[in-house]
Symmetry: C2
Subunit: 181 residues, 2 copies
């Protein structure tokens, strides 16, 4: 990703959050994480997030998805004595189509990103509207896509160790490379 | 507390939350907790809250304070192998004056509830405005009061076991008695 693209995504994210009652400090705005997972097509496969707190006991983040943006399939494995990250997604704005391990839903509402079809394998659909939430157990494969207006999701979880996440798509690099324009 | 007072406080709480982008389901609205701590003067000493999730690993709640309402001083002790609840308060709306163990601030901005002066002993002030947050370590005495417009506070924490909280005021009963009107 180019630095200008990161900056623009940060600005859009901060604006979406503030429009829906989620105020960030200036310091937080500057460290909004823009994840394109090394795939270089942020608007299709990507995620924007701000970590409010991440201690050895719990973690809280705000996740932002642009319209129809998709967070690729992954799971949180055990790390040492930790059984793996457990997380609760609470939809605050927009609509989220969440897919987890389990019986495949007949017709899914998300559109799987073109060219990445082999790497979206779970099909059990949960639709989350504002005020609705879902808790994902450790070790559960999952991916999610925003509806047409994008989405804001509060994530409450155990300790977050993103560097250990296991993605289905072998092309993915969790920590992005940023180049000057 | 009378049942009608509880119901009215629940309605005010749900309205304050929805006005600031925090949507609750109908089921959640019906289980908003109205805590008067057994003191029977909710508007002075009390707290409204909704627990989104409370697992053996983490907990998330939304706290609502009416204008100048005060949550009385307490601490979260160790329980079994748990070193005690650790919690992060993130102000979403309004203003919160938070007091914790530590060097007393010279002039505090909160007004200590009349008649309860002996039970508010810590005076180290932290002012939280929207977007600002503070993490309270386990075993730390703390109390807090909203500013003139009330406040909404997201609480991210380790597992919550309210029944073990230790309040400074011996008159306090954490689980309220509710009587029919």
């Amino acid at each position: 990703m180019k630095r200008s693209e990161v900056r623009q995504a940060q600005e859009t994210t901060a604006r979406m959050l503030s429009e829906h009652g989620m105020i960030l400090t200036v310091e937080e705005q500057s460290r909004i994480e823009v994840a394109d997972f090394g795939l270089n097509r942020l608007q299709q496969e990507g995620l924007e997030l701000i970590t409010y707190v991440n201690t050895d006991r719990y973690c809280a983040k705000e996740l932002v998805l642009f319209p129809r943006q998709t967070c690729p399939e992954h799971l949180h494995p055990p790390v040492g004595s930790d059984p793996g990250k457990m997380e609760t997604f609470r939809c605050r704005f927009g609509k989220v189509f969440l897919y987890v391990d389990g019986e495949a839903s007949e017709d899914i509402q998300a559109a799987i990103p073109e060219g990445s079809e082999p790497y979206y394998t779970v099909r059990h659909e949960i639709e989350l509207n504002p005020g609705e939430q879902y808790t994902i157990p450790p070790g559960t494969k999952h991916w999610f896509q925003a509806g047409d207006a994008g989405a804001i999701v509060s994530e409450f979880s155990s300790t977050s160790r993103d560097e250990f996440d296991i993605f289905t798509d072998p092309r993915i690099r969790r920590i992005p490379e940023i180049t000057n324009d």
